[in-house]
């Protein structure tokens, strides 16, 4: 079981309130991703759940029991850190065994679990090495191994892939995803990388200045951002946001259109501009259109075979039903 409930959880450092009262429900077996720009409080929130930081106000319930005052060791959660945080003076085997040793488990059971974890994570050949002799990806696997042997009620991941290079990151992302499918244990994952968030999550929690901006499935957030912040944050390249006359025509303060929802043509359309930088990725092309009078540049995603170049005059046309309208407060106009 791994149902985690936050009730009015607040964190203050001195006079600074980094997390204003916050409520959140995490269901058993869910993969929840906390995402947001750096300094938004996502790591702090994870550390509050872990018990590594004390809550200033509010309650944390784990499987219905109040764990607000419980020590990290007593919460039954396991954590994987960005820096791996392996014990450098212990072999891989001892690293993985450490939580079991602390739990006072008998040796035979320890060995059985270590063997199972090592097998699942391709670490069997490395059990007698020290962390210093392993690559970044292997170290992260050891950290995951150390987390899974305990069979915790939930896993907490604090930007676990940030220290890996791009290719490894994709591989480890898949491994974590498979791990979740196999174990069906609650996972809370902190990242600033929205690709990780979109691909891994059952549920994304977008945080901004300690506040929850929106909670929902990846597609839900992408298709129906509830406010300007989420609209601008989720999606890569970013959603185009326009204010002024163009927005006023839609009766809104701000409008947002995703790059793939703008048609580009040389013949005619709604907004006129000139191609600035263009990026040809093969399957897709991205055009950064200037001099539209809407924003500094407008990003447009088009077919990979379209042949437009720097300085070409173009017309842009948004898909009317895909235009997101936001009011003065930045909230979505339904």
């Amino acid at each position: 079981m791994g149902r985690i409930t936050l009730e009015g959880v607040t964190k203050r450092f001195g006079d600074v309130e980094v997390i204003p009262p916050l409520n959140l429900d995490i269901e058993d077996g869910e993969f929840v991703v906390f995402v947001g720009p750096s300094g938004c409080g996502k790591s702090t929130l994870l550390r509050l759940i872990a018990g590594l930081e004390d809550v200033s106000a509010g309650r944390i319930l784990i499987d219905g029991t109040d764990a607000t005052e419980a020590s990290p060791a007593k919460r039954g959660l396991a954590m994987v850190f960005q820096s791996y945080a392996l014990y450098p003076h212990m072999s891989v085997r001892k690293n993985i065994a450490f939580p079991l040793k602390m739990a006072g488990m008998d040796k035979a059971e320890q060995d059985r679990r270590i063997a199972a974890a090592a097998n699942a994570l391709n670490l069997t050949d490395y059990l007698d090495r020290r962390p210093g002799q392993l690559s970044g990806g292997q170290r992260q696997r050891v950290a995951i191994g150390r987390a899974i042997v305990r069979e915790p009620s939930a896993f907490l991941f604090d930007e676990p892939l940030s220290n890996l290079d791009a290719a490894l990151r994709v591989g480890m992302r898949l491994e974590i995803s498979e791990l979740h499918t196999r174990l069906r244990t609650t996972m809370i994952y902190v990242t600033h990388d929205q690709v990780e968030a979109m691909t891994l999550a059952d549920k994304i929690v977008v945080l901004h200045a300690g506040r929850i901006e929106q909670v929902g499935s990846p597609l839900d957030l992408y298709m129906r951002p509830r406010n300007v912040f989420v609209a601008g944050f989720i999606g890569s390249p970013k959603m185009n946001l326009f204010t002024g006359e163009a927005a006023a025509e839609y009766g809104a303060r701000t409008i947002g259109v995703r790059p793939e929802h703008i048609a580009i043509s040389t013949e005619g359309g709604t907004w006129k501009g000139r191609v600035g930088v263009s990026e040809h990725l093969g399957s897709d092309s991205f055009f950064y259109v200037e001099d539209t009078g809407l924003a500094e540049t407008v990003t447009v995603r088009a077919d990979g075979e379209i042949g437009l170049h720097h300085g070409d005059e173009v017309w842009l046309t948004p898909s009317e039903d895909k235009v997101h309208k936001f009011d003065d407060g930045g909230d979505l106009i339904e």
Binding site: L52, P72, A73, M79, F81, Y87, F98, M102
Partner: protein
């Protein structure tokens, strides 16, 4: 960036360096030379070539058994160091990983006690020793030496501990380690190089301590530093015997220092260069 150094400059500076080293080492060298002279030679004047007699060593040994003060030195140095570590490891842990607004002030205050002249507290400590029957006892002196060196031990350990990433200790906490487990299984083994050089330095400081050992001992707890001093007073000055006693007193620590110099330098510069 490497700079071009001519051969002559290099030879010149090498000679200067050796000359400076010789000047620094000369008093010790002359003490060793004098210890191998007869008493007449020693008093006769400056002479670098001794007659290589072991006469002084024999006299020193028969007059005042070397073994007892040597054992006292070992017990005081090692005992006070172990005691200091037991107190200082938790203290340094608290300061490094759970600092408060006052941590820096406490550290400075601890260090400031080292700036106070020892003689300023001689009378109160003398009276405490007298009142509690600690005069000329190993236990009294061990505790006193531990307290005297404690600020340095805490400071050094604090510096080493700060180099250990807090996330590793947090990982241990998540893995179910209690505070005791965390210090015992994670922090201490990781800080071994730092702890070792702290131990070494403290052993050397305690071994060389002369002020308190001379003031607070007579015979039964007197370590080697007091042993040397005992040759300088009663029957006048005997240079050769004094030198022999000094050589015997500094030899163990000099040998220890020589073999552990690499460790000591590594420990003392730990964290200074990344």
């Amino acid at each position: 960036m490497a700079r071009a150094v001519t051969r002559n400059t290099r030879i010149g500076w090498t000679i200067v360096a050796w000359a400076v080293a010789l000047v620094i080492f000369f008093p010790i060298l002359y003490t060793i030379i004098t210890s191998f002279k007869s008493e007449q030679e020693a008093i006769a004047g400056f002479d670098l070539i001794p007659s290589l007699t072991l006469e002084s060593y024999q006299t020193v040994q028969t007059q005042n058994n070397y073994f007892r003060p040597f054992m006292n030195s070992v017990i005081l140095a090692v005992g006070s160091t172990l005691l200091a570590l037991i107190v200082a490891i938790p203290a340094a842990w608290a300061m490094a990983f759970s600092p408060t607004r006052h941590t820096k002030n406490i550290l400075m205050w601890m260090l400031s006690t080292k700036m106070m002249p020892a003689v300023a507290v001689l009378v109160p400590i003398y009276l405490i020793f007298l009142r509690f029957g600690l005069m000329d006892t190993r236990i009294g002196l061990t505790v006193l030496l531990m307290l005297i060196n404690l600020p340095i031990v805490v400071w050094m350990l604090y510096t080493y501990f700060r180099e250990i990433p807090g996330e590793i200790l947090e990982a241990a906490r998540m893995d179910g380690a209690s505070l005791r487990d965390e210090i015992l299984y994670i922090l201490t083994p990781m800080a071994v190089p730092g702890i070792a050089s702290t131990m070494l330095l403290n052993v050397i400081l305690a071994w060389n301590e002369a002020f308190w050992t001379i003031q607070l001992t007579t015979t039964s707890a007197a370590p080697l530093s007091a042993f040397i001093a005992s040759f300088s007073s009663p029957q006048g000055l005997f240079w050769a015997k004094l030198s022999a006693a000094s050589t015997m007193a500094i030899a163990p620590i000099l040998i220890l220092g020589w073999f552990s110099q690499k460790q000591l330098v590594r420990g003392l510069t730990f964290g200074a260069v990344k």
